[in-house]
Symmetry: C2
Subunit: 343 residues, 2 copies
């Protein structure tokens, strides 16, 4: 089994010095060396550095670089790819890469860590090992292995991951639907009906980009809170395609008068050719009068998708050179929508 | 026992018609009537309408109205107050009211619901009943009772509540530290050491405002995400006092160049007399080079406080007419900081 390891920086690619953590060029080699010395003859690794930043510093050019490297991977040569990445923006990167590179015929893993490898509490090694074991077990698709603070290691679908919580730094999948668990050195596939099957994941989907992938069309994310004054947002009309408003938990946002309401902001955006979407909500039988009003002003709900995946969905859709924007938004790009549970 | 019920609108004060939910003037009376007919001779209720809006439409004037009504409550006449409020912004309102009205010598509850009272799945009645039972059991402080989708009903401290999740519409306290559980018709106090004791909660704290409370000093909330262009935020210098940046889970934000980094934005804010704070983070031994850089540019972390309570903390501090801003920010205003767990 041959695996391509792409380092991008992050905690897993960092070292601590005098209480401050920063990227360290030897981190990837050390991790792979440690793995090879612990488990002989199971896998051969090719290592390559794509970037060298902490993941909180990720902006669009990073995505273009990583995604174009992934699209150029020789699928004949490798059985899988492991991308080493920081945890802060892991859910954004893993979901965008999965959507844009969905035509790649080999599995791709995104591996982060809570602490640098040498820290006694680091989960870098077990996360890396879980990625290799998932590949060895024949696991498919774009995935994220991560050991939480309770010692449980789950394999998440790359487009279902939510952002980690700040108290425990744990990762969860939307609705806790995971692809597999890594337990006692073994991968246990979940067969959760809310996820695509391994059979489905093994089939590459049609590409959404030809040639180099570029991200000129930007997406702006904002979160509803009481007193939000939308007039303080001066969206740049020349390159912003879409605004994504994180709603309150029932799917609403403010319809207060004027600049304190989303409806007027929607109207302004539309006049400037910018589309408005809603995330952080699910489809319900009854809706609030506020939701009704917001929909009437043209805001489009993206139901049952995590916030990072909703951002990535818009980025992928508006920058696709092959597929229709509306189709990519109304349908799943890469299994990002959690099927609604029966009532 | 005499209880003042203040209605503000919300789902608990709404009714559904043709699939659309909107505020209904009879909802509070119906709820109290239903309670009185179910449990005779336990409590006497005075009902009053303070507002009539869905809680997603809450802006500063609503807070001023509700808080001034609470500050004017006759504590000799009542044993407690129950505020009926929508769930969407419940964590923002309950935390702000607790902080600004912390000198009130009687307990105050904030009660919301997942559906209007008449809906078969509504938890309006059990939430209301849990509030009354907590008062009857001698419970103190500012609190929020809520039945989650698993059927468990917890009593949350008003400044520890986090926003509900959109999949299940469940409420949690920061670190799941709750004041009590309401189970089988009984209040079971938790005695969680991460919370103030009932003894502490029974003592009113010193007031932070004299006369009418006003909120002229605004707070702007924004969330870090990859590609955030800070130059798209045009903060109004005349009335915004503070910007609160929700960090990534490790406490970092982007330090990318220019407008894509928080440091330059901090500098701009400070030049205009606006302070910058960070929320959604905890104190750690080692910090990232990005955090170090952000701190050096004057952003102040608010550790281990929920995002809604951090917003309220800034609103209370910058609009206090009696207390020093720095003291209100560095110390707890109303027990909002979750004590750090031992390592």
């Amino acid at each position: 089994m041959k695996i391509l390891v792409l380092s991008t920086g992050g905690t897993i690619g960092s070292a601590a010095k005098d209480g401050v953590m920063s990227p360290d060029k030897n981190a990837m080699a050390l991790l792979v060396l440690l793995y090879e010395s612990s488990f002989q003859d199971v896998a051969e690794f090719d290592c390559e550095s794509v970037s060298d930043i902490l993941s909180e510093n990720v902006t669009e050019p990073f995505y273009e670089k990583l995604i174009n490297r992934l699209l150029a991977v020789d699928a004949e040569k490798y059985d899988g790819v492991i991308v080493l990445h920081g945890t802060d923006t892991l859910a954004y990167t893993s979901s965008l890469a999965a959507m844009v590179c969905r035509s790649l015929p080999i599995p791709v893993s995104f591996v982060g860590a809570n602490y640098p490898l040498k820290h006694p509490k680091s989960n870098a090694f077990i996360n890396f090992r879980a990625a290799v074991e998932y590949l060895k077990a024949g696991g498919k698709g774009f995935f994220v292995p991560y050991e939480n603070s309770d010692g449980k290691t789950y394999i998440h679908l790359a487009t279902r991951l939510t952002e980690a919580d700040f108290l425990h730094d744990d990762f969860h999948s939307l609705g806790d639907a995971v692809l597999a668990e890594f337990k006692d050195g073994k991968i246990i596939f979940s067969n959760d009906s809310r996820l695509p099957s391994q059979e489905e994941l093994s089939k590459p989907l049609s590409g959404i980009t030809d040639g180099e992938f570029e991200l000129p069309g930007r997406v702006v994310l904002l979160k509803s809170y009481p007193g939000l004054d939308y007039s303080e947002l001066h969206i740049k009309h020349d390159n912003v395609c879409a605004v994504l408003n994180i709603t309150y938990h029932t799917g609403t946002a403010s319809c207060a008068d004027g600049d304190f309401g989303l409806p007027e902001f929607c109207d302004k955006c539309h006049k400037n050719g910018i589309d408005v979407y809603l995330a952080g909500l699910k489809k319900t039988d009854d809706i609030y009068e506020t939701s009704k009003c917001i929909y009437e002003h043209g805001a489009e709900p993206i139901y049952s998708v995590s916030v990072p995946a909703a951002v990535s969905k818009l980025r992928a859709a508006y920058n696709s050179s092959l597929e229709n924007i509306d189709t990519l938004i109304s349908d799943d790009i890469y299994y990002e929508t959690l099927p609604q549970e029966e009532k």
